[in-house]
Point group: C2
Chain length 155, copies 2
DNA sequence: TATTATAGTTAAGCCCGTTTAACTATTAAG
DNA sequence: CTTAATAGTTAAACGGGCTTAACTATAATA
């Protein structure tokens, strides 16, 4: 099996999955009174944990001024909290509150609701074969994060 | 194995994958001179084939007036083409041109570039085990589309 | 200590994506 | 044939997300 074959199969699967989740994602944005950048901020915090305003701005590709402004309503709604970094008192660490975490969780469930349909067209035997493959892939993605940010060299 | 276990494993894998692709997606939008809705329009056409303006508006959650306006620059850039529906001359079918298709292809490659890194932390043996699982999942997603829009009952 | 750099906030102003409303063209219904 | 409904386009106006610029506070440097 060629490397390119494996990659293109993986790419096709992910692209189709993302497309399926896209419609729910768009509806989620329009129905909530949150902007594209605000939603992305919540998801960034969900996956990366607490982050400085700086990092969020870099991730979103906008200025820190814009981030500071979009954070304010999120704070008012009780979705995020700010805390000073113990190392550098200039830095404000932004983190999800429990309510924020719950909101993202609901959004994730919503986006991927179509997975239930997918599950229905799979036999029990197929699912048991697929499960270890999915778990392996998920583990190895986490491994990528560890290699990129080794725990020994604190950044 | 419980149904919920399988679903949550699948959901975690997809959510993490989508998050990994998200950063490239955001950069893609900011660097191109296309709006969020324009990008989504191109991807919608990429996956669904030619669509009436009506459908696009419904998918994006905006009015047909807005769609009509965002299509104009895409048409000027040669990314899409309009054609009259043979059944109903009021309907304009929007489709990607070859240039539009190429642009989306490049964008997809870009978004999922991190898959190469994932591939590097997998052994050849693991990849050979994973490939049929990925292909099975992809096939079954397509099956969902067929069931939702059976070819016999033309819609 | 004095100077420079960095992190974040605030306010003013701009840009552009969207809505509303008015219009044309085509199809469906009475 | 007449009327009503649907698909799409166009232009004016609105609103919100972003940038720029000015500012405060903390940290690093000389």
């Amino acid at each position: 099996m060629s490397e390119e074959l494996f990659l293109s199969a993986l790419r096709e699967w992910i692209e189709i999955s993302m497309h399926r989740s896209r419609h729910a994602f768009i509806r989620n944005i329009r129905e909530s009174d949150l902007s594209f950048s605000q939603i992305n901020t919540l998801f960034r915090l969900y996956h990366h944990g607490s982050s400085p305003v700086n990092d969020l701005a870099n991730h979103l590709g906008i200025t820190t001024a814009a981030v500071s402004q979009l954070l304010e309503p999120l704070h008012q709604s009780g979705l995020i909290q700010r805390s000073e970094s113990p190392n550098d008192r200039r830095v404000k660490l932004i983190a999800l509150t429990d309510a924020g975490q719950a909101l993202v969780n609901r959004s994730v469930q919503n986006r991927h609701a179509w997975l239930s349909e997918l599950s229905e067209v799979l036999t029990q035997e197929e699912k048991e074969q697929l499960l270890p493959a999915i778990i392996l892939l998920t583990e190895r993605i986490h491994q990528l994060d560890v290699e990129a940010h080794p725990p020994c060299d604190s950044d």
